[in-house]
C-alpha cells in the first residue's frame, strides 16, 4: 500500500539489537508501572474478600453483604494469633493471612477469630488448608460455642476445575455442614466419616466432583486434630461451653 514493509530491506545487527532492547525496555516499564500502581488496590480487595470468608463462616447471612458491612462485622470479631501446638495466645492480630500448614516451630501461630457475647463464646472461626484435586484449598470453619458443632464452612480460595470442583463453593453443598456434630459420645472425631450413617455426622460428597469434595471433607477432619490444643484451651477459657473434645495424652487441661 505505502512505504516499504518491515523486513523488506537488510538491517544492521547493532540497529536490530538497539531497537529490540528499546522495545523490550518500554514494554517492561509499562508492565511494571501498571503492576506497581494496581497491586495495593488488589491487596485491599483481597483482604476484604478474606474478611468476607471469615465473616460468612461466623454468620452465613452476611455472605453477600456489602464491603463496609463485612469490614464492620470482621472488626467486631476477637482476633488472636494462637500457638498451634499449645493453644496459648501469642499476640492479638489485625489482618494476618496464615494457614495451619505454614505453622512450624519458629512461627507456630495461626489467626483464630472469636465471637464473644456476654462473656460467652458464640463461635470460633479457624483457618483451614489442605490438598484438593489440583490445588491447595483454603477455607474457614466456624464452630458453635460448644466447640463440638459446625456452624458453617466457607471456602476462601481454590484452583479446582471450573464448573466441576468449584461446586464445593455452592451454598447448597456448604449448607449441609451447619449443625453437624464433630465427636461421638466417646470423643472420637466422627464428622464426615465415609460410613457415617448417623445424620449427625454425615456429609454428602458431590456427584461428579467427588475428589474435590472428599478432599474438602478430609481437610476439615484433619484440621480437627491439628486444632486439638487450641480447642482444648478455648474450652478451658470458656467453661460454659457444654462438652469438650476428647483429651489426648499430654494435653490435659490444668
Amino acid at each position: 500500500m505505502n512505504m516499504p514493509v518491515a523486513g523488506s530491506q537488510p538491517e544492521s545487527l547493532p540497529k536490530t539489537l538497539a531497537i529490540t532492547v528499546l522495545i523490550a525496555a518500554c514494554c517492561a516499564t509499562m508492565v511494571t508501572a501498571a503492576v506497581l500502581t494496581l497491586r495495593p488496590m488488589q491487596a485491599a480487595y483481597a483482604a476484604i474478600e478474606r474478611n468476607r470468608a471469615i465473616v460468612a463462616a461466623s454468620n452465613p447471612a452476611l455472605a453477600e453483604a456489602g464491603d463496609s458491612a463485612i469490614v464492620t462485622a470482621y472488626l467486631a470479631l476477637q482476633r488472636h494469633l494462637v500457638d498451634l501446638r499449645t493453644g496459648a495466645d501469642i499476640d492479638d492480630v489485625d489482618t494476618v493471612e496464615r494457614w495451619p500448614s505454614e505453622a512450624d516451630a519458629s512461627r507456630p501461630g495461626v489467626p483464630v477469630y472469636l465471637r464473644v457475647r456476654d462473656g460467652k463464646l458464640d463461635c470460633v472461626v479457624l483457618p483451614l488448608d489442605g490438598k484438593g484435586m489440583w490445588s491447595t484449598l483454603y477455607a474457614y470453619l466456624a464452630l458453635e460455642g460448644d466447640l463440638a458443632t459446625v456452624r458453617a464452612l466457607s471456602i476462601y480460595r481454590h484452583e479446582e476445575t471450573p464448573g466441576i470442583g468449584d461446586r464445593i463453593q455452592d451454598p447448597a453443598w456448604l449448607a449441609q455442614w451447619h449443625g453437624r456434630r464433630l465427636y461421638d459420645s466417646e470423643g472420637n472425631v466422627r464428622l464426615g466419616e465415609a460410613d457415617a450413617v448417623d445424620a449427625d455426622f454425615y456429609i454428602d460428597t458431590i456427584t461428579g466432583a467427588t475428589v474435590t469434595s472428599s478432599a474438602a471433607i478430609r481437610m476439615v477432619r484433619a484440621s480437627l486434630d491439628t486444632y486439638q490444643p487450641i480447642l482444648q484451651s478455648l474450652a478451658t477459657r470458656f467453661p460454659t461451653s457444654r462438652s469438650t473434645p476428647k483429651e489426648t495424652a499430654g494435653a490435659t487441661p490444668p
Binding site: I19, A24, Q42
Partner: protein, 214 residues
C-alpha cells in the same frame, strides 16, 4: 472512504470469527453467560487497538529478522496490563475468565491483524481495522453468549426472563447450552448463516490478505 471500509468490513463481510475462523478458542470458552463474554470482548478489543496502533507506529523500524518476537512482546505486555486491570476492578469476573484473559496473547486475531494489516498501514487505518475486528469478534461472542445464557438458564445478564421449573416457573432450561460443545454448534450455525447471506464469500473464498492465518 477506505477508512470506513477498514472499520466496517471486519464486522460482517470479513468477520474474524465467522469468515476468517480466528479466535475460536476463547469464543468457545467464555461464551457461557453474557457478563464475562462482554468483559472478554472489551479486553480483546482493547488489546487489538493497542497492538495495531503500536505496531503500525513502529512498522518502519521493526527489524524484519526479529519482527514476530517483538510483536509478541508488545502484545503480551498489553495483555498483562489488561489482566491486572481486570483483577483489580472486576476480580469476580476475572476469576470466571480464569486463564482466558492471559490467552488473549495467543488469540490469532491480534497477531493476525498486526501481521496482515498494521505492518502495512498507517496508525489511523490500523485503529479503524482494530476497532472493526474487535466489534466483529464481540458481536459473535455476545450473540453466542446471549443464546447460551437465555436457553441454558432462562436469563440474560443474570436477570431472569424465562422463569425456570427449578424456581417454580414453566421453562425447562436446556443444560446442553451450559457446556462448551454448544458453542461449537452455535458458531457453526452462525458461520453457515452468515456465509449463506453473503454467498459471494464462498465464491471468492480466497481473500488474499487474511487467508492462511490460523
Amino acid at each position: 472512504m477506505t477508512l470506513r471500509r477498514h472499520l466496517l468490513d471486519p464486522i460482517l463481510h470479513e468477520n474474524p470469527v465467522t469468515v476468517q475462523i480466528l479466535g475460536l478458542c476463547s469464543a468457545l470458552a467464555v461464551s457461557r453467560t453474557l457478563e464475562p463474554a462482554l468483559i472478554m470482548a472489551a479486553a480483546v478489543t482493547a488489546v487489538l487497538v493497542y497492538s495495531n496502533l503500536v505496531i503500525s507506529l513502529l512498522r518502519h523500524v521493526l527489524p524484519g529478522s526479529v519482527r514476530l518476537i517483538l510483536e509478541m512482546t508488545i502484545i503480551a505486555s498489553g495483555v498483562i496490563v489488561v489482566d491486572e486491570v481486570l483483577k483489580t476492578y472486576a476480580p469476580a469476573i476475572a476469576e470466571t475468565l480464569t486463564v482466558f484473559v492471559g490467552l488473549i496473547i495467543t488469540n490469532c486475531i491480534v497477531l493476525g491483524r498486526a501481521e496482515s494489516f498494521a505492518l502495512r498501514n498507517g496508525p489511523l487505518h490500523s485503529i479503524a481495522d482494530a476497532v472493526g475486528n474487535g466489534i466483529g469478534y464481540s458481536l459473535i461472542l455476545l450473540t453466542v453468549a446471549a443464546i447460551r445464557e437465555l436457553v441454558g438458564t432462562g436469563s440474560l445478564f443474570g436477570v431472569t426472563l424465562l422463569p425456570t421449573l427449578d424456581a417454580g416457573g414453566w421453562y425447562r432450561p436446556n443444560h446442553l447450552m451450559l457446556y462448551a460443545p454448544s458453542a461449537f454448534f452455535l458458531i457453526g450455525f452462525l458461520i453457515w448463516g452468515l456465509r449463506a447471506l453473503a454467498a459471494r464469500h464462498v465464491a471468492t473464498a480466497s481473500t488474499p490478505v487474511t487467508r492462511g492465518q490460523r
